[in-house]
Homo-oligomer: 204 residues x 2
C-alpha cells in the first residue's frame, strides 16, 4: 500500500466499465465479498477492482485507500447490527438488556447477516487499520447511542462491557464453535445473557 | 500441507543441528515465536525449522503436522492461563467468579504472557485447524475443571458463557482497544466482571 490519501480529483486513466453510481456500487459489492471471504490482510484494491470489473484506479478514485474502501464496505455489512431501531435502544431502560440481546442474536442467527459480520470482526482482531475502522463505527454508531440512553457518567464503559459479553458469546458460538454453546438453543442463551447485559447497563 | 500424520519412525534424512531434547526444545521455542508473531496461517513448518536451525524433516519427526506443532507450542503458551492453581478453581464456590477473573486478568495484564496468548486466540478466530486446537485445550484443561467444580447439569454451558465474558473483555481491551475500556483501571473492570462470572457459574 503506497496510497495514503484518497484521490478524488482527475479521471482514472483507464476504466474497464462505465463510471457512475453503478460502478461505485459494483466496487462496494466486490469489496464486501473480498473482505468477507479473505479478510482484510489478504484483500487488495487490485482484487476488489478485478471483482468489480473496473480498473484499480477507479477504486482509488471513488474511495481512496484500502482502509477507506474497507470502511465504506463494512458500514454496509455492519448496517444490520448498527442500525438497531430506536425502539430497541431507546425504549424503557429496564428491558434494554433483553431487547438488545434479542436484536443482536437475530442478526447473528441469520447466516446471511452473520457471515460478513464475523469476517469483519476477525479482520479487526488481526489488523490495526481494520481495528481502527471497527472501533470508529461500533463506538460512534452503536455504543454511544446505548451509553447516551443509559446516561450515567460511566455509561460508555458499561456499554463496552455489555458488548464484550455479546461479542464474546458470538465468537465462542459461531467462530470457535465451543460445545455445548455452539449447539445450545438461542433462547436458552438469551435467557442467560440478557440479564448480564441489563446488569452491565443499569445495575449497581 | 501434504502431511496428514506424524512421522515418528526412521531418522530424518538430513539434520543441520544435533537431535535430542535440545533440538526439540529449540523447535518448540521457534514455533511459539512464529505462531505468536505471524499467526497460524502465515507460519510454516519450514519457517519454524529455519528459526530453530534444523531441517524441516526434524520438525515432522518430532511433532508430525503443522497442526500438531501448533498444539504442542500453544500448550506452553496457554500454560499460564490453563494451569490455574486448584485453589483458584476449587476453593469455595461463592468466591470463584472473583478468583477466576482476578487470575485471568493477572495473566493478561502482563505483556509477557498476554502477547502470545492473544496471538493464539486470533489464530483460532481465523483458522479452523487452530480453532480445533484451541477448543480442545481450553475445553479439556480449563472449562471442564471449572464445570466439574460447579457440578450442575448445565455447568459446561455456564462455564462457556463465563469464559465468553472474560475473553470478550480481553479482545475489546487488548486487541480492539475500545476506549474507555482499554485505559480503565483493571480493578474497576474486575469489580464489574467478577459478579458476572460468578452469576454465570452459580446463579439461578
Amino acid at each position: 500500500m503506497t496510497d495514503t490519501a484518497p484521490r478524488r480529483r482527475g479521471r482514472p486513466s483507464r476504466t474497464h466499465a462505465g463510471e457512475g453510481p453503478a460502478a461505485r456500487e459494483r466496487i462496494l459489492q466486490s469489496a464486501r465479498e473480498e473482505f468477507s471471504e479473505r479478510g482484510y490482510d489478504k484483500t487488495s484494491v487490485r482484487s476488489i477492482a478485478k471483482g468489480a470489473g473496473v480498473d484499480p484506479a477507479l477504486v482509488h478514485h471513488y474511495f481512496g485507500t484500502k482502509e477507506q474502501v474497507f470502511e465504506a464496505a463494512i458500514e454496509v455489512v455492519f448496517a444490520p447490527a448498527l442500525k438497531a431501531p430506536d425502539t430497541i435502544i431507546e425504549g424503557p431502560l429496564d428491558g434494554v438488556g433483553e431487547r438488545f440481546s434479542r436484536f443482536l442474536f437475530g442478526v447473528w442467527e441469520n447466516p446471511v447477516t452473520r457471515t460478513p459480520l464475523l469476517a469483519v470482526v476477525r479482520s479487526a482482531m488481526n489488523n490495526e487499520a481494520a481495528a481502527a475502522v471497527f472501533r470508529r463505527l461500533v463506538t460512534t454508531q452503536l455504543l454511544r447511542r446505548v451509553a447516551g440512553h443509559v446516561g450515567t457518567p460511566d455509561a460508555e464503559l458499561r456499554a463496552e462491557l455489555a458488548a464484550a459479553q455479546l461479542v464474546g458469546v458470538a465468537m465462542m458460538r459461531y467462530v470457535i464453535k465451543l460445545e455445548p454453546l455452539a449447539s445450545a438453543d438461542v433462547e436458552q442463551i438469551i435467557a442467560r445473557v440478557a440479564p448480564v447485559v441489563q446488569g452491565h447497563l443499569t445495575g449497581p
